[in-house]
Assembly symmetry: C2
Homo-oligomer: 292 residues x 2
Protein backbone atom coordinates (compact mmCIF):
# COMPACT_ATOMS: atom_id res chain seq x y z
CA UNK A 1 0.00 0.00 0.00
CA UNK A 2 1.41 3.34 -1.00
CA UNK A 3 1.78 6.09 1.56
CA UNK A 4 0.96 9.76 1.14
CA UNK A 5 2.94 11.71 -1.44
CA UNK A 6 5.33 13.89 0.58
CA UNK A 7 7.42 16.85 -0.46
CA UNK A 8 10.55 16.17 1.60
CA UNK A 9 13.50 18.48 2.20
CA UNK A 10 16.68 17.44 3.96
CA UNK A 11 18.16 20.83 4.66
CA UNK A 12 21.92 20.80 5.20
CA UNK A 13 24.53 23.47 5.61
CA UNK A 14 26.13 22.72 2.22
CA UNK A 15 23.26 21.22 0.23
CA UNK A 16 19.53 20.60 0.24
CA UNK A 17 18.14 17.23 -0.81
CA UNK A 18 14.60 17.55 -2.12
CA UNK A 19 12.30 14.66 -3.02
CA UNK A 20 8.76 13.80 -3.90
CA UNK A 21 8.22 10.37 -2.41
CA UNK A 22 5.77 7.86 -0.96
CA UNK A 23 8.46 5.77 0.79
CA UNK A 24 11.75 3.90 0.34
CA UNK A 25 10.85 2.17 -2.93
CA UNK A 26 8.97 5.13 -4.32
CA UNK A 27 11.18 8.13 -4.72
CA UNK A 28 9.32 9.79 -7.55
CA UNK A 29 11.59 12.77 -8.05
CA UNK A 30 14.81 13.79 -6.39
CA UNK A 31 17.27 16.69 -6.58
CA UNK A 32 20.30 18.12 -4.81
CA UNK A 33 20.44 21.89 -4.54
CA UNK A 34 23.46 23.74 -3.13
CA UNK A 35 22.76 25.77 -0.01
CA UNK A 36 23.64 29.30 -1.08
CA UNK A 37 21.63 32.32 0.10
CA UNK A 38 18.23 31.56 1.66
CA UNK A 39 16.45 33.42 -1.13
CA UNK A 40 18.13 31.56 -3.98
CA UNK A 41 18.02 28.18 -2.22
CA UNK A 42 14.34 28.40 -1.36
CA UNK A 43 13.55 29.66 -4.88
CA UNK A 44 15.24 26.58 -6.37
CA UNK A 45 13.42 24.26 -4.00
CA UNK A 46 10.06 25.76 -4.92
CA UNK A 47 10.95 25.56 -8.61
CA UNK A 48 11.86 21.85 -8.26
CA UNK A 49 8.64 20.97 -6.47
CA UNK A 50 6.46 23.04 -8.87
CA UNK A 51 7.98 21.28 -11.84
CA UNK A 52 7.74 17.77 -10.41
CA UNK A 53 4.25 18.22 -8.99
CA UNK A 54 3.01 19.35 -12.40
CA UNK A 55 4.16 15.95 -13.74
CA UNK A 56 3.53 13.62 -10.77
CA UNK A 57 0.68 15.25 -8.90
CA UNK A 58 0.36 17.30 -5.75
CA UNK A 59 2.18 16.57 -2.52
CA UNK A 60 -0.13 15.87 0.43
CA UNK A 61 2.35 17.03 3.08
CA UNK A 62 5.59 19.01 3.34
CA UNK A 63 8.29 17.75 5.72
CA UNK A 64 11.62 19.42 6.41
CA UNK A 65 14.53 18.00 8.39
CA UNK A 66 17.01 20.78 8.87
CA UNK A 67 20.44 21.70 10.13
CA UNK A 68 20.30 23.88 13.19
CA UNK A 69 19.91 25.46 15.48
CA UNK A 70 16.28 25.80 14.43
CA UNK A 71 13.04 26.69 16.18
CA UNK A 72 10.93 23.51 16.29
CA UNK A 73 8.34 24.78 18.73
CA UNK A 74 4.94 24.87 17.05
CA UNK A 75 3.27 28.14 17.97
CA UNK A 76 6.50 30.03 18.59
CA UNK A 77 6.82 33.35 16.71
CA UNK A 78 9.93 32.01 14.98
CA UNK A 79 8.67 28.44 14.40
CA UNK A 80 10.34 27.08 11.28
CA UNK A 81 13.29 29.49 11.44
CA UNK A 82 16.97 28.70 11.38
CA UNK A 83 17.98 30.66 14.50
CA UNK A 84 21.46 31.74 15.64
CA UNK A 85 23.68 29.94 13.14
CA UNK A 86 27.14 31.31 12.26
CA UNK A 87 26.39 30.29 8.63
CA UNK A 88 26.45 33.49 6.53
CA UNK A 89 22.99 34.83 5.53
CA UNK A 90 21.07 32.10 7.39
CA UNK A 91 20.87 33.50 10.91
CA UNK A 92 17.23 34.19 11.90
CA UNK A 93 15.94 32.95 8.54
CA UNK A 94 12.41 31.72 7.98
CA UNK A 95 12.90 28.44 6.13
CA UNK A 96 9.48 26.88 6.63
CA UNK A 97 7.36 29.98 5.94
CA UNK A 98 8.06 30.56 2.22
CA UNK A 99 7.95 26.82 1.48
CA UNK A 100 4.68 26.39 3.36
CA UNK A 101 3.25 29.27 1.37
CA UNK A 102 4.37 27.76 -1.94
CA UNK A 103 2.48 24.56 -1.12
CA UNK A 104 -0.79 26.19 -0.08
CA UNK A 105 -2.52 24.75 2.94
CA UNK A 106 -1.05 21.22 3.14
CA UNK A 107 0.16 19.87 6.51
CA UNK A 108 3.78 20.63 7.39
CA UNK A 109 6.39 19.02 9.64
CA UNK A 110 9.54 20.83 10.73
CA UNK A 111 12.22 18.80 12.49
CA UNK A 112 15.98 18.61 12.94
CA UNK A 113 17.92 16.56 10.42
CA UNK A 114 18.92 14.03 13.10
CA UNK A 115 15.33 13.64 14.32
CA UNK A 116 14.28 13.00 10.73
CA UNK A 117 17.04 10.41 10.28
CA UNK A 118 16.06 8.55 13.44
CA UNK A 119 12.40 8.67 12.49
CA UNK A 120 13.29 7.22 9.09
CA UNK A 121 15.25 4.39 10.71
CA UNK A 122 12.41 3.76 13.17
CA UNK A 123 9.88 3.60 10.33
CA UNK A 124 11.78 1.61 7.69
CA UNK A 125 15.27 0.85 9.01
CA UNK A 126 17.38 -0.40 11.90
CA UNK A 127 15.08 0.83 14.69
CA UNK A 128 11.85 -0.49 13.18
CA UNK A 129 9.78 -2.39 15.74
CA UNK A 130 11.62 -0.99 18.78
CA UNK A 131 9.99 1.30 21.33
CA UNK A 132 13.13 3.17 22.34
CA UNK A 133 16.04 4.18 20.12
CA UNK A 134 18.72 6.81 19.60
CA UNK A 135 20.68 8.18 16.64
CA UNK A 136 24.04 9.92 16.61
CA UNK A 137 25.30 11.63 13.50
CA UNK A 138 29.07 11.97 13.65
CA UNK A 139 30.36 14.44 11.10
CA UNK A 140 31.04 18.19 11.06
CA UNK A 141 29.38 18.21 14.46
CA UNK A 142 27.79 15.50 16.56
CA UNK A 143 24.01 15.55 16.68
CA UNK A 144 21.71 13.25 18.57
CA UNK A 145 18.11 12.19 18.58
CA UNK A 146 15.98 10.06 20.87
CA UNK A 147 12.75 8.13 20.51
CA UNK A 148 11.03 7.05 23.74
CA UNK A 149 7.87 4.95 23.62
CA UNK A 150 7.70 5.42 19.86
CA UNK A 151 7.79 9.23 19.86
CA UNK A 152 10.58 11.67 19.09
CA UNK A 153 11.61 13.44 22.29
CA UNK A 154 11.38 17.21 21.98
CA UNK A 155 12.33 20.07 24.20
CA UNK A 156 13.64 23.58 23.92
CA UNK A 157 16.77 23.07 21.87
CA UNK A 158 17.09 19.41 22.90
CA UNK A 159 18.54 16.91 22.79
CA UNK A 160 22.03 18.31 22.67
CA UNK A 161 23.76 14.98 22.85
CA UNK A 162 26.87 16.22 21.09
CA UNK A 163 27.70 18.26 24.17
CA UNK A 164 27.64 15.52 26.78
CA UNK A 165 30.72 15.09 28.94
CA UNK A 166 33.15 12.27 28.16
CA UNK A 167 36.29 11.07 29.87
CA UNK A 168 39.54 11.88 28.06
CA UNK A 169 41.54 8.92 26.84
CA UNK A 170 44.86 8.70 28.74
CA UNK A 171 46.74 8.98 25.43
CA UNK A 172 44.80 12.02 24.27
CA UNK A 173 46.38 15.40 24.95
CA UNK A 174 44.14 17.27 22.53
CA UNK A 175 42.11 20.08 24.06
CA UNK A 176 39.07 19.69 21.80
CA UNK A 177 37.38 21.96 19.29
CA UNK A 178 34.05 22.84 20.91
CA UNK A 179 33.90 26.59 21.32
CA UNK A 180 31.72 26.17 24.40
CA UNK A 181 33.23 23.19 26.18
CA UNK A 182 36.54 22.29 24.52
CA UNK A 183 36.55 18.62 25.28
CA UNK A 184 32.88 17.58 25.25
CA UNK A 185 31.88 14.70 22.93
CA UNK A 186 31.68 16.93 19.85
CA UNK A 187 34.86 18.71 20.87
CA UNK A 188 36.81 15.44 20.92
CA UNK A 189 35.09 13.16 18.40
CA UNK A 190 33.61 15.22 15.53
CA UNK A 191 35.24 15.28 12.10
CA UNK A 192 36.90 18.67 12.74
CA UNK A 193 38.27 17.33 16.06
CA UNK A 194 39.90 14.39 14.28
CA UNK A 195 41.31 16.69 11.61
CA UNK A 196 42.72 19.20 14.06
CA UNK A 197 44.17 16.54 16.38
CA UNK A 198 45.98 14.61 13.63
CA UNK A 199 46.52 17.29 10.98
CA UNK A 200 44.66 15.23 8.39
CA UNK A 201 41.05 14.74 7.43
CA UNK A 202 39.37 11.66 8.95
CA UNK A 203 38.93 10.01 5.58
CA UNK A 204 42.69 10.25 4.90
CA UNK A 205 43.68 8.33 8.04
CA UNK A 206 44.35 4.58 7.57
CA UNK A 207 42.16 2.00 9.31
CA UNK A 208 44.90 1.11 11.83
CA UNK A 209 45.61 4.73 12.80
CA UNK A 210 45.46 5.42 16.56
CA UNK A 211 42.81 8.04 15.78
CA UNK A 212 40.22 5.27 15.63
CA UNK A 213 41.05 3.93 19.09
CA UNK A 214 40.28 7.36 20.53
CA UNK A 215 37.19 7.77 18.35
CA UNK A 216 35.78 4.41 19.47
CA UNK A 217 36.55 5.29 23.08
CA UNK A 218 34.53 8.50 22.91
CA UNK A 219 31.62 7.19 20.86
CA UNK A 220 31.31 4.15 23.16
CA UNK A 221 31.03 6.45 26.18
CA UNK A 222 28.27 8.34 24.40
CA UNK A 223 26.46 5.06 23.75
CA UNK A 224 26.84 3.93 27.36
CA UNK A 225 25.56 7.23 28.70
CA UNK A 226 22.47 7.07 26.51
CA UNK A 227 22.02 3.45 27.52
CA UNK A 228 22.17 4.17 31.24
CA UNK A 229 19.94 7.25 31.07
CA UNK A 230 17.30 5.88 28.69
CA UNK A 231 16.07 2.37 27.85
CA UNK A 232 17.14 2.44 24.18
CA UNK A 233 17.13 -0.88 22.35
CA UNK A 234 18.98 0.44 19.29
CA UNK A 235 21.68 3.08 18.99
CA UNK A 236 22.32 4.04 15.38
CA UNK A 237 25.62 5.67 14.46
CA UNK A 238 25.49 7.63 11.22
CA UNK A 239 27.32 10.52 9.60
CA UNK A 240 30.49 10.81 7.54
CA UNK A 241 32.94 9.66 10.22
CA UNK A 242 31.07 6.32 10.50
CA UNK A 243 31.96 5.58 6.87
CA UNK A 244 35.22 4.20 8.33
CA UNK A 245 34.45 0.51 8.06
CA UNK A 246 36.55 -0.63 11.01
CA UNK A 247 34.99 1.87 13.42
CA UNK A 248 31.64 0.24 14.24
CA UNK A 249 33.24 -2.98 15.50
CA UNK A 250 35.68 -0.95 17.62
CA UNK A 251 32.84 1.03 19.20
CA UNK A 252 30.93 -2.19 19.96
CA UNK A 253 34.00 -3.72 21.64
CA UNK A 254 34.46 -0.63 23.75
CA UNK A 255 30.77 -0.55 24.75
CA UNK A 256 31.05 -4.15 25.95
CA UNK A 257 34.20 -3.29 27.90
CA UNK A 258 32.60 -0.25 29.57
CA UNK A 259 29.31 -1.96 30.43
CA UNK A 260 31.29 -4.88 31.85
CA UNK A 261 28.38 -7.24 32.32
CA UNK A 262 26.16 -4.83 34.22
CA UNK A 263 23.38 -4.33 31.71
CA UNK A 264 22.01 -7.41 30.02
CA UNK A 265 23.86 -6.67 26.81
CA UNK A 266 23.72 -10.05 25.13
CA UNK A 267 25.03 -8.59 21.96
CA UNK A 268 26.37 -5.09 21.50
CA UNK A 269 26.38 -6.00 17.82
CA UNK A 270 22.60 -5.85 17.87
CA UNK A 271 22.47 -2.76 20.03
CA UNK A 272 24.91 -0.43 18.25
CA UNK A 273 24.34 -0.39 14.50
CA UNK A 274 24.78 1.64 11.33
CA UNK A 275 21.73 3.22 9.65
CA UNK A 276 20.04 0.65 7.42
CA UNK A 277 18.85 3.44 5.16
CA UNK A 278 22.46 4.64 4.95
CA UNK A 279 22.82 8.21 3.78
CA UNK A 280 19.14 8.25 2.78
CA UNK A 281 17.95 8.06 6.40
CA UNK A 282 17.46 11.83 6.52
CA UNK A 283 15.39 12.32 3.38
CA UNK A 284 13.37 9.14 3.95
CA UNK A 285 12.83 10.23 7.53
CA UNK A 286 11.23 13.40 6.18
CA UNK A 287 8.98 11.26 3.99
CA UNK A 288 8.01 9.16 7.04
CA UNK A 289 7.34 12.29 9.09
CA UNK A 290 5.15 13.70 6.34
CA UNK A 291 3.02 10.58 6.30
CA UNK A 292 1.84 10.72 9.93
CA UNK B 1 -11.10 16.93 46.50
CA UNK B 2 -9.82 13.75 48.08
CA UNK B 3 -8.06 11.15 45.96
CA UNK B 4 -8.46 7.39 46.16
CA UNK B 5 -7.41 5.68 49.36
CA UNK B 6 -4.13 3.95 48.55
CA UNK B 7 -2.22 1.27 50.44
CA UNK B 8 1.32 2.46 49.79
CA UNK B 9 4.56 0.62 50.52
CA UNK B 10 7.99 2.17 50.14
CA UNK B 11 10.11 -0.94 50.22
CA UNK B 12 13.71 -0.35 51.24
CA UNK B 13 16.63 -2.62 52.02
CA UNK B 14 16.60 -1.72 55.71
CA UNK B 15 12.99 -0.68 56.33
CA UNK B 16 9.54 -0.64 54.80
CA UNK B 17 7.37 2.45 55.09
CA UNK B 18 3.69 1.59 54.88
CA UNK B 19 0.84 4.07 54.67
CA UNK B 20 -2.85 4.39 54.02
CA UNK B 21 -3.23 7.74 52.33
CA UNK B 22 -5.21 9.91 49.95
CA UNK B 23 -2.39 12.41 49.34
CA UNK B 24 0.12 14.74 51.04
CA UNK B 25 -2.25 16.21 53.60
CA UNK B 26 -4.09 12.98 54.21
CA UNK B 27 -1.80 10.32 55.56
CA UNK B 28 -4.39 8.33 57.46
CA UNK B 29 -2.09 5.70 58.93
CA UNK B 30 1.63 5.22 58.74
CA UNK B 31 4.18 2.69 60.01
CA UNK B 32 7.84 1.77 59.66
CA UNK B 33 8.63 -1.93 59.59
CA UNK B 34 12.19 -3.28 59.59
CA UNK B 35 13.11 -5.30 56.51
CA UNK B 36 13.99 -8.70 57.95
CA UNK B 37 13.08 -11.94 56.16
CA UNK B 38 10.55 -11.63 53.34
CA UNK B 39 8.06 -13.81 55.25
CA UNK B 40 8.16 -11.80 58.45
CA UNK B 41 8.28 -8.44 56.72
CA UNK B 42 5.34 -9.17 54.44
CA UNK B 43 3.40 -10.62 57.38
CA UNK B 44 3.87 -7.39 59.33
CA UNK B 45 2.85 -5.27 56.34
CA UNK B 46 -0.35 -7.28 55.89
CA UNK B 47 -1.06 -7.04 59.61
CA UNK B 48 -0.64 -3.26 59.54
CA UNK B 49 -2.95 -2.80 56.58
CA UNK B 50 -5.58 -5.21 57.98
CA UNK B 51 -5.67 -3.34 61.25
CA UNK B 52 -5.80 0.13 59.71
CA UNK B 53 -8.32 -0.78 57.03
CA UNK B 54 -10.66 -2.17 59.69
CA UNK B 55 -10.66 1.32 61.26
CA UNK B 56 -10.35 3.62 58.22
CA UNK B 57 -11.95 1.65 55.41
CA UNK B 58 -10.68 -0.33 52.46
CA UNK B 59 -7.83 0.74 50.20
CA UNK B 60 -8.83 1.18 46.56
CA UNK B 61 -5.36 0.46 45.17
CA UNK B 62 -2.05 -1.02 46.29
CA UNK B 63 1.17 0.69 45.17
CA UNK B 64 4.70 -0.46 45.93
CA UNK B 65 7.92 1.44 45.25
CA UNK B 66 10.78 -0.94 45.89
CA UNK B 67 14.52 -1.31 46.15
CA UNK B 68 15.94 -3.41 43.37
CA UNK B 69 16.75 -4.97 41.16
CA UNK B 70 13.08 -5.85 40.70
CA UNK B 71 11.00 -7.13 37.80
CA UNK B 72 8.67 -4.30 36.75
CA UNK B 73 7.51 -5.85 33.52
CA UNK B 74 3.77 -6.48 33.69
CA UNK B 75 3.10 -9.95 32.28
CA UNK B 76 6.56 -11.33 33.08
CA UNK B 77 6.57 -14.61 35.04
CA UNK B 78 8.48 -12.88 37.83
CA UNK B 79 6.61 -9.55 37.73
CA UNK B 80 6.64 -8.08 41.22
CA UNK B 81 9.72 -10.02 42.32
CA UNK B 82 12.90 -8.71 43.85
CA UNK B 83 15.35 -10.39 41.47
CA UNK B 84 19.11 -10.94 41.86
CA UNK B 85 19.86 -8.90 44.99
CA UNK B 86 22.83 -9.77 47.22
CA UNK B 87 20.53 -8.97 50.19
CA UNK B 88 20.21 -12.20 52.26
CA UNK B 89 16.87 -14.06 51.82
CA UNK B 90 15.49 -11.59 49.27
CA UNK B 91 16.93 -12.90 46.00
CA UNK B 92 14.14 -14.08 43.65
CA UNK B 93 11.44 -13.14 46.15
CA UNK B 94 7.85 -12.45 45.22
CA UNK B 95 7.06 -9.20 47.00
CA UNK B 96 3.96 -8.13 45.10
CA UNK B 97 2.21 -11.53 45.00
CA UNK B 98 1.41 -12.11 48.69
CA UNK B 99 0.49 -8.44 49.20
CA UNK B 100 -1.77 -8.44 46.18
CA UNK B 101 -3.47 -11.56 47.50
CA UNK B 102 -4.00 -10.00 50.92
CA UNK B 103 -5.84 -7.08 49.30
CA UNK B 104 -8.13 -9.14 47.09
CA UNK B 105 -8.67 -7.87 43.56
CA UNK B 106 -7.79 -4.16 43.87
CA UNK B 107 -5.53 -2.56 41.23
CA UNK B 108 -1.81 -2.76 41.91
CA UNK B 109 1.23 -0.72 40.85
CA UNK B 110 4.78 -2.01 41.20
CA UNK B 111 7.61 0.43 40.60
CA UNK B 112 11.16 1.18 41.69
CA UNK B 113 11.61 3.40 44.73
CA UNK B 114 13.22 6.12 42.59
CA UNK B 115 10.42 6.02 40.02
CA UNK B 116 7.92 6.41 42.86
CA UNK B 117 9.86 9.34 44.30
CA UNK B 118 9.98 11.15 40.96
CA UNK B 119 6.31 10.47 40.35
CA UNK B 120 5.54 11.92 43.78
CA UNK B 121 7.54 15.05 42.99
CA UNK B 122 5.88 15.34 39.57
CA UNK B 123 2.42 15.07 41.14
CA UNK B 124 2.78 17.21 44.25
CA UNK B 125 6.35 18.51 44.44
CA UNK B 126 9.24 20.14 42.62
CA UNK B 127 8.49 18.68 39.17
CA UNK B 128 4.77 19.47 39.21
CA UNK B 129 3.67 21.12 35.96
CA UNK B 130 6.77 20.11 33.99
CA UNK B 131 6.67 17.67 31.07
CA UNK B 132 10.17 16.30 31.48
CA UNK B 133 12.04 15.67 34.72
CA UNK B 134 14.63 13.44 36.36
CA UNK B 135 15.40 12.28 39.89
CA UNK B 136 18.67 11.04 41.34
CA UNK B 137 18.79 9.43 44.75
CA UNK B 138 22.30 9.65 46.15
CA UNK B 139 22.80 7.31 49.08
CA UNK B 140 23.93 3.70 49.50
CA UNK B 141 23.81 3.54 45.72
CA UNK B 142 22.84 6.06 43.07
CA UNK B 143 19.50 5.47 41.43
CA UNK B 144 17.85 7.46 38.69
CA UNK B 145 14.44 7.99 37.20
CA UNK B 146 13.15 9.86 34.18
CA UNK B 147 9.80 11.30 33.13
CA UNK B 148 9.42 12.22 29.46
CA UNK B 149 6.21 13.84 28.21
CA UNK B 150 4.58 13.23 31.58
CA UNK B 151 5.23 9.48 31.76
CA UNK B 152 7.78 7.44 33.68
CA UNK B 153 10.25 5.95 31.22
CA UNK B 154 10.45 2.18 31.53
CA UNK B 155 12.64 -0.44 29.97
CA UNK B 156 14.24 -3.71 30.89
CA UNK B 157 16.10 -2.79 34.04
CA UNK B 158 16.31 0.89 33.10
CA UNK B 159 17.22 3.56 33.68
CA UNK B 160 20.54 2.65 35.24
CA UNK B 161 21.70 6.19 35.67
CA UNK B 162 23.96 5.34 38.59
CA UNK B 163 26.26 3.56 36.17
CA UNK B 164 26.87 6.36 33.68
CA UNK B 165 30.47 7.29 32.94
CA UNK B 166 31.93 10.39 34.56
CA UNK B 167 35.29 12.09 34.23
CA UNK B 168 37.60 11.71 37.21
CA UNK B 169 38.48 14.90 39.06
CA UNK B 170 42.20 15.66 38.65
CA UNK B 171 42.58 15.56 42.46
CA UNK B 172 40.81 12.21 42.83
CA UNK B 173 43.02 9.12 42.94
CA UNK B 174 40.29 6.88 44.30
CA UNK B 175 39.48 3.84 42.15
CA UNK B 176 35.77 3.73 42.99
CA UNK B 177 33.54 1.15 44.67
CA UNK B 178 31.33 -0.14 41.86
CA UNK B 179 31.92 -3.88 41.53
CA UNK B 180 31.13 -3.68 37.81
CA UNK B 181 32.79 -0.45 36.71
CA UNK B 182 34.95 0.84 39.54
CA UNK B 183 34.75 4.53 38.75
CA UNK B 184 31.29 5.02 37.24
CA UNK B 185 29.02 7.65 38.88
CA UNK B 186 27.90 5.31 41.68
CA UNK B 187 31.45 4.03 42.10
CA UNK B 188 32.74 7.57 42.74
CA UNK B 189 29.85 9.49 44.29
CA UNK B 190 27.64 7.14 46.36
CA UNK B 191 27.72 7.21 50.16
CA UNK B 192 29.99 4.13 50.34
CA UNK B 193 32.38 5.75 47.82
CA UNK B 194 32.69 8.83 50.02
CA UNK B 195 33.20 6.69 53.12
CA UNK B 196 35.84 4.49 51.51
CA UNK B 197 37.71 7.42 49.91
CA UNK B 198 37.94 9.49 53.10
CA UNK B 199 37.74 6.83 55.83
CA UNK B 200 34.70 8.52 57.37
CA UNK B 201 30.98 8.45 56.75
CA UNK B 202 29.67 11.29 54.58
CA UNK B 203 27.64 12.77 57.46
CA UNK B 204 30.79 13.05 59.60
CA UNK B 205 32.67 15.19 57.07
CA UNK B 206 32.57 18.97 57.65
CA UNK B 207 30.90 21.27 55.11
CA UNK B 208 34.26 22.63 53.90
CA UNK B 209 35.83 19.19 53.41
CA UNK B 210 37.33 18.58 49.93
CA UNK B 211 34.99 15.58 49.63
CA UNK B 212 32.19 17.94 48.63
CA UNK B 213 34.17 19.51 45.78
CA UNK B 214 34.55 16.04 44.26
CA UNK B 215 30.93 15.11 45.00
CA UNK B 216 29.62 18.26 43.31
CA UNK B 217 31.92 17.63 40.35
CA UNK B 218 30.48 14.14 39.79
CA UNK B 219 26.83 14.97 40.44
CA UNK B 220 27.05 17.98 38.12
CA UNK B 221 28.37 15.77 35.32
CA UNK B 222 25.43 13.45 35.88
CA UNK B 223 23.05 16.42 35.65
CA UNK B 224 24.69 17.71 32.47
CA UNK B 225 24.57 14.29 30.81
CA UNK B 226 20.86 13.93 31.56
CA UNK B 227 20.35 17.48 30.36
CA UNK B 228 22.10 16.90 27.04
CA UNK B 229 20.46 13.53 26.37
CA UNK B 230 16.90 14.44 27.44
CA UNK B 231 14.96 17.71 27.61
CA UNK B 232 14.44 17.68 31.40
CA UNK B 233 13.22 20.91 32.96
CA UNK B 234 13.83 19.77 36.54
CA UNK B 235 16.52 17.54 38.00
CA UNK B 236 15.76 16.56 41.58
CA UNK B 237 18.61 15.41 43.80
CA UNK B 238 17.46 13.34 46.78
CA UNK B 239 18.87 10.69 49.10
CA UNK B 240 20.95 10.80 52.26
CA UNK B 241 24.07 12.38 50.76
CA UNK B 242 22.02 15.41 49.65
CA UNK B 243 21.24 16.19 53.32
CA UNK B 244 24.58 18.06 53.26
CA UNK B 245 23.25 21.58 53.07
CA UNK B 246 26.17 23.10 51.19
CA UNK B 247 26.10 20.49 48.43
CA UNK B 248 23.16 21.62 46.29
CA UNK B 249 24.66 25.08 45.68
CA UNK B 250 28.01 23.49 44.79
CA UNK B 251 26.38 21.18 42.25
CA UNK B 252 24.49 24.10 40.69
CA UNK B 253 27.73 26.11 40.35
CA UNK B 254 29.45 23.19 38.70
CA UNK B 255 26.54 22.62 36.30
CA UNK B 256 26.77 26.26 35.21
CA UNK B 257 30.53 25.92 34.73
CA UNK B 258 30.20 22.74 32.64
CA UNK B 259 27.33 23.98 30.47
CA UNK B 260 29.30 27.19 29.89
CA UNK B 261 26.51 29.12 28.22
CA UNK B 262 25.61 26.49 25.66
CA UNK B 263 22.16 25.53 26.85
CA UNK B 264 19.79 28.31 27.73
CA UNK B 265 20.27 27.77 31.43
CA UNK B 266 19.02 31.06 32.80
CA UNK B 267 19.08 29.68 36.29
CA UNK B 268 20.59 26.38 37.33
CA UNK B 269 18.97 27.17 40.68
CA UNK B 270 15.60 26.47 39.12
CA UNK B 271 16.81 23.46 37.18
CA UNK B 272 18.62 21.45 39.86
CA UNK B 273 16.59 21.22 43.07
CA UNK B 274 15.99 19.16 46.20
CA UNK B 275 12.79 17.12 46.54
CA UNK B 276 9.98 19.34 47.83
CA UNK B 277 8.40 16.35 49.51
CA UNK B 278 11.76 15.68 51.15
CA UNK B 279 12.12 12.17 52.49
CA UNK B 280 8.39 11.56 51.94
CA UNK B 281 8.77 11.68 48.14
CA UNK B 282 8.93 7.89 47.94
CA UNK B 283 5.86 7.01 49.99
CA UNK B 284 3.80 9.87 48.57
CA UNK B 285 4.92 8.83 45.11
CA UNK B 286 3.39 5.42 45.79
CA UNK B 287 0.16 7.15 46.82
CA UNK B 288 0.21 9.16 43.58
CA UNK B 289 0.89 6.04 41.52
CA UNK B 290 -2.00 4.26 43.20
CA UNK B 291 -4.38 7.05 42.26
CA UNK B 292 -3.95 6.84 38.50
Amino acid sequence: MSGKMVAAVESGGTKMVAALSRGPGEIIAHEKIPTTTPKETIYRLVEFFDREQSVHGKAEALAIGTFGPADLEVGSATYGFITSTPKPDWSQTDLLGPLREAFGGIPVVFETDVNAALFGEATWGAAKGFKHSAYFTVGTGIGGSLIVDGSLVHGSGHPEMGHMRVTKHPNDNFGGVCSFHGDCLEGLASGPAIEKRWGKKAEELPADHPAWVLEAYYLAQACVNVLTITPVEKIILGGGVMHQEQLLAMVRQEVIRLVNGYLKLQDAGELVVLPQLGDHAGILGCVALGQI
